[in-house]
């Protein structure tokens, strides 16, 4: 049995997947710290431990994500755009549009039936609408970012956040808090704000069914719902959405493993 490793080193989290030569996922790991930290090493150790393997039993390692060039011992590096496309296509065949909200950027991709990129757009100008934006807002509200989804479910109306800039939006949220607007409604407003920004990129890239969301932010059901409302279409989320980039990298690694043998 041969094993291939894909590791997605993002700005806020590291994800790793080991695949077997039979195309099955042998193990996976998610560590909530990213590039420039102990995150990549930790994720590597955890995934190897779960698979019961040593590093030298891995035939090929492909790194992706913002920190892809920083991993020692990687055999090659692939862009996160290509890896998300490949990973989502594996998890959800038939997907033609992918939304990925990462720690510091938003990606929208159009892919073909083989998981190849046809078109892609990313936010260029600022952190608004990114995972970092959600982290900042959660901190201002004094809640965990993982609680945002449940909080927005309990909103009875949406407190609109009109600022697109993260810094100005932070001030706006503080202003709303000071006027005793319910946190739940503010969170719904934050999700709507992110959804509007993502939808403009979605429209720029082109919406083609089926649409899927990848990355850790996709686990936020409140945000996905807000996005569906803004974009006017169904957004599909796989339970392993957070692993999509690492999985795509592992699939690339497996192709090289096969070429090498």
């Amino acid at each position: 049995m041969k094993y291939a490793l894909g590791i997605d080193i993002g700005s806020t989290a590291t994800k790793a997947v080991i695949m077997t030569s039979e195309g099955k996922i042998a193990a996976s790991a998610v560590v909530s710290i990213g590039t420039g930290t102990a995150g990549p090493k930790k994720a590597l150790m955890e995934v190897l431990d779960k698979a019961g393997l040593d590093r030298d039993q891995i035939t090929w390692t492909t790194a992706t994500g913002y920190g892809r060039f920083s991993l020692e011992g990687a055999d090659d590096q692939k862009s996160e755009l290509s890896c998300h496309a490949k990973g989502v296509s594996y998890l959800m065949p038939g997907t033609h549009t992918i939304i990925d909200i990462g720690g510091q950027d938003i990606k929208v991709m159009s892919i073909n039936d083989r998981g190849g990129l046809v078109n892609f757009v990313m936010n260029d100008k600022c952190a608004a609408g990114t995972g970092r934006f959600l982290d900042t807002m959660a901190r201002v509200l004094n809640v965990e970012v993982t609680d945002l989804s449940d909080l927005s479910e309990k909103a009875d109306e949406v407190a609109e956040i009109s600022s697109t800039c993260t810094v100005f939006a932070e001030s706006e949220v503080i202003s709303k808090l000071s006027t005793n607007i319910k946190i739940e409604n503010i969170v719904a407003g934050i999700h709507q704000s992110v959804a509007k920004r993502v939808t403009s990129l979605l429209k720029r890239c082109g919406i083609k069914e089926t649409i899927a969301m990848s990355g850790g932010v996709a686990l936020n059901k409140g945000l996905v719902k807000a996005l569906e409302n803004e974009a006017g279409c169904k957004i599909h989320v796989h339970e392993e959405c957070q692993l999509a980039g690492a999985l795509g990298a592992a699939l690339y690694a497996m192709e090289n493993t096969k070429k090498a043998s």
């Binding site: 996160e80 290509s82 950027d105 990129l117 260029d124």
Partner: protein
Amino acid sequence: MADVKALLAEFDEISKNPRKMLDSYLAAGEKVIGSFYYTPQPLITALGMIPMGLWGGQVNPQVAGKYAPIFTCSILRSSLEFGMTGAYEGLSAVLMPILCDTFRGTCAAWRAGVNIKLIPFVHPQNRKDPGALDYLIEEYKYVKTELENVAGKTCTDADIHAAIDLHNKKNKVIRDFCAAANHHLDLITAVTRHHVMKALTFMKPEDIIEKLSQLTAALNELPDYEWTGKKVILTGITAEPDDMLAGFTANNIAVVGDDLMQESRLYRTDYPAANSAMESLALQWLNIKGCSMAHDDNSRARGEHLVSMVEENGADAVVLCMMRFCDTEEYDQPYIIKMVQDAGYMAFSIDIDQSTSDSGQALTKIQAFAEN
């Protein structure tokens, strides 16, 4: 081969050291006029002065913020920073076309914060109106008078005609180089091509004709190189820094043409034959097609131009090098990408920000294009 490498090294040196060029001109007792894009450079040449391009540069502005908001387009903000911090010291004057709202604001900021004579002028945007030609001739007459004051002498119509001929010859030499470069993509990488094109904006027209003709001739003597990687056309205002451009080569991608303001866009429209030299200068602006800065009744002109560039040069994609906060360029982005993609080619944009050296996201996009 030795000639090519030595000549490329010369262009590389010039592109990286405009200050050294300026000092050498000043040491020789020459007067130098800073020129933003779309300025009537033959007037400068006709008066025996030297036009030098102003393109901002990689700098994190520290003092420009006194006048320019953070969302000022990157190139004008860095140019203002250089003006305020003495980087342009020695220029006798600066020609500034008010091509957009940011130029208008920068004009006011320049007057307040930079101690170099400014000669602003405004191009007509309704270029089809019969009055546009008369209006621009009048604007250029004002520019001529101001330049004559700087030069301390006047120039005749014949002087300007001679300068126009020189600049048209320069344009042809540059176009010939770009065509020759595509047969030697092993030597003329994205970075080396940019260095050559950028260096030209700091050189005298007669020196460009001499040096670049030598380089083109040296390239033409070499056997053609068959490039097997992907090929792209760049469009936008500038495509920098080198780290970003090196990403194309690292991913086996060659630049086979450009529609960049700093590079080919400036040289593709010659000064036409006309009733007078001033009319020729003005007609050149009226004849420009497919530029975000020049309003066109044909709203698809730039897209059509880019698609034809892709087809003529056998390219695979158009890369929009989007100058940060340049709204004029930004408005073109959606329709250009659609037109290029509808024609069956890839198109994507990368962010050009002179205030940071981090090209991480651009490199990711370039790599993703190469992988698919």
